[in-house]
């Protein structure tokens, strides 16, 4: 009898826990943030793959990230937005999450986060993390877990000059892993309902402003684009490749639709030792940012012993062109700074 009661109680509890919430309908304006600036340019600093974890010496990492921030401010003259493209943590606790976003918020520059494949690996729930990235007066993130669209960090930021939108920044959640076989996973990517959402944003806003996209995992189209440049590097814009690319393994119309809606390029992180940026056969730009720190693994030049870490700077112009700068801040004593720049990309 005791066994029957126990089993009955257990099954009831399990049934209750298995009940999932429904979805909610949001309007396009709920996904929109606006940054107003009357400057001639709008500068975005991309930080990626910060990878705080239990082994991280927080004080050193904060000092390093401050060096990157200062170098970017000096290079650009002013910073209008910081975009963090995922993998900020891997095996960390809530105190670390709170500290990182408190620290970034303290720079006084609006910042926006999109998740990477590792951001779920910690002592927190999805809901808690979604709240954490919205804390602070400079936080712009708009994560929705209940909108029926895959991934949470799908939203956009408009640069407005006070009257009109000048540029649009899309941030999309490239999810994490997808089951490829019963025994293995591949990297996930942008799902079709997210692409549908992006198209819906474009159609609803009904303006032909140029845009950039920021995700974490490179799209599947990176592989053929890279292969196309194997014998001819003229389509490479800047940067280097030091490891095999781990792009998304899912088929998606993301890049195709991105081109249709006037996106000029998509930028990502994920592969720490790569920072190359190239154009595909249609001139669409696809590029890595620069890994921000040496946590987990990073590339160090065997000759100079300088780390391929820092940040990527995007200087948007009102004529629809943008400059791309990769800032390398060496994570050794002295924090030596160097950079590669490409101007007037369209």
């Amino acid at each position: 009898m005791r066994t029957h009661k126990f089993i009955g109680t257990f099954l009831s509890l399990v049934t209750l826990c298995a009940c999932q919430g429904g979805t909610k309908a949001y309007e396009i304006k709920d996904y929109r943030q606006v940054l107003t600036s009357t400057n001639d340019t709008f500068s975005i600093l991309q930080l990626t793959d910060i990878h705080w974890c239990y082994t991280t010496k927080i004080a050193h990492s904060e000092e390093y990230l401050t060096q990157v921030f200062e170098a970017a401010k000096k290079e650009a003259g002013h910073l209008d937005l910081i975009v963090i493209t995922g993998d900020s943590f891997l095996g960390a606790d809530q105190a670390m999450v709170t500290e990182l976003y408190r620290f970034v918020n303290g720079w006084g520059v609006p910042f926006a986060v999109t998740y990477g494949n590792h951001d779920k690996e910690g002592d927190w729930s999805r809901e808690w993390m979604n709240e954490a990235i919205q804390k602070g007066e400079n936080a712009l993130s708009l994560p929705y877990a209940d909108d029926g669209i895959d991934g949470d960090t799908n939203y956009f930021i408009d640069w407005s000059d006070g009257n009109d939108t000048v540029w649009r920044i899309y941030l999309l959640d490239s999810n994490s892993l997808t089951l490829e076989s019963p025994f293995s996973y591949g990297y996930d990517g942008i799902h079709e309902n997210q692409v549908g959402w992006m198209k819906n944003v474009h159609d609803t806003m009904n303006d032909s402003v140029p845009s950039l996209g920021f995700v974490h995992i490179p799209p599947k189209e990176l592989a053929p684009a890279l292969q196309g440049t194997a014998s001819d590097k003229s389509q490479w814009i800047l940067g280097k490749q030091h490891e095999k690319t781990c792009q998304s393994s899912v088929d998606s119309s993301f890049v195709q639709v991105a081109k249709e809606i006037g996106m000029r390029g998509v930028f990502y992180g994920h592969d720490h030792n790569n920072d190359f940026v190239l154009q595909d056969q249609d001139g669409f730009v696809m590029g890595y940012g620069v890994k921000s720190g040496t946590e987990l693994y990073s590339y160090e030049d065997p000759d100079t012993h300088q780390t391929l870490t820092g940040g990527a700077l995007y200087t948007l112009k009102k004529d629809g062109a943008y400059d791309l700068t990769h800032l390398y801040v060496d994570d050794h004593e002295g924090y030596a700074v160097s950079s590669l720049r490409k101007e007037s990309l369209r």
Partner: protein, 297 residues
């Protein structure tokens, strides 16, 4: 053994299980955080070892409370004492050295507010336990695990390999459940956690029940058979349910398990669900079938 004493032993093991599980989970998480190059082990290894010491306490205590043979009891005392003394002492010394060198800072919140004193306390308890083992003379009555004589290979496979593996998994997920409770994240308690927490623990505790009750003449084989088959049925239903859930929602494990199976997800492998479910089913089935052996009434 009196019933009161038997329940006291059961409570002691339950407390040790909970404590060991919480710290074991923490130690494993630190180790995984240092993948793939393990660059920080010179600083972390001694912390991870200290977090795993309660596991040793639990193992030694279990064998001492439920000795299955004179030989096993003797080995538990000698080998257990040796490990406790050596590991506890070594860990304590390295903690002191690393603290003196500045590698550890007092109150480093990554570990705890009392770090590294709490780590050293675990070492001191280990050493004290080892010393006590050497000096203790009391012996508990033997608790044979098998109702029938079996080939040694089965005993080795199930008792010495599968069961400790199962205990390790139970400990790890209990620790994970504790983290959920601590951070008030019960809303994120999704199917995989339920499976392993509610399957692993009852199976383990049920098995402990067998050990505690075994030998009681008024407990019939048919009663034990019913309990054993109930546990297997529970394991089977939950395994099938989990399989159906994943077939319907392929991202189930990815969304719910990433924080608990870093080894799988760092290697992009989907092995853990099989490694974790099959031993449970095998162990439960083995227990249930053992009551149907020819000659059993």
């Amino acid at each position: 053994m009196s019933k009161r004493l038997a329940w006291m032993y059961w409570a002691l093991e339950a407390i040790l299980f909970a404590f060991a599980g919480i710290l074991f989970f923490r130690g494993i998480r630190f180790a995984f955080a240092d993948m793939p190059h393990f660059r920080h082990q010179s600083r972390l290894f001694w912390v991870e070892l200290a977090y795993c010491l309660p596991l040793l306490w639990l193992g030694v205590t279990h064998v001492l409370l439920h000795p299955t043979s004179e030989k096993r009891h003797h080995h538990a005392k000698i080998i257990g004492a040796a490990f406790l003394l050596c590991l506890g002492t070594l860990d304590f010394v390295f903690a002191i050295v690393l603290w003196a060198k500045g590698e550890y800072q007092y109150g480093d919140q990554v570990f705890s507010g009392a770090f590294p004193l709490d780590l050293m306390l675990l070492d001191i308890i280990s050493v004290a336990y080892g010393v006590w083992l050497i000096t203790v003379r009391k012996k508990n009555p033997l608790t044979p695990l098998e109702p029938l004589v079996r080939p040694a290979v089965w005993r080795i496979l199930f008792q010495d390999i599968l069961f400790p593996f199962f205990v390790g998994i139970s400990l790890y997920f209990f620790g994970g459940f504790w983290v959920l409770l601590k951070h008030n994240n019960l809303s994120s308690l999704q199917d995989p956690e339920i499976y392993f927490l509610f399957l692993a623990l009852p199976l383990f505790l049920g098995y402990q029940e067998y050990l505690r009750l075994w030998g009681k003449e008024n407990l019939s084989v048919s009663t034990k058979r019913i309990v054993a088959w109930s546990v297997f049925a529970w394991a089977f239903v939950l395994t099938v349910w989990l399989g159906i859930r994943q077939a319907l929602v392929p991202s189930l494990f990815v969304n719910a398990w990433q924080a608990y199976l870093p080894l799988d997800f760092m290697g992009s492998l989907n092995l853990a669900p099989y490694l974790l479910t099959l031993p449970f089913l095998i162990l439960a089935l083995k227990e249930a079938l053992s009551f149907h052996h020819k000659g059993q009434k």
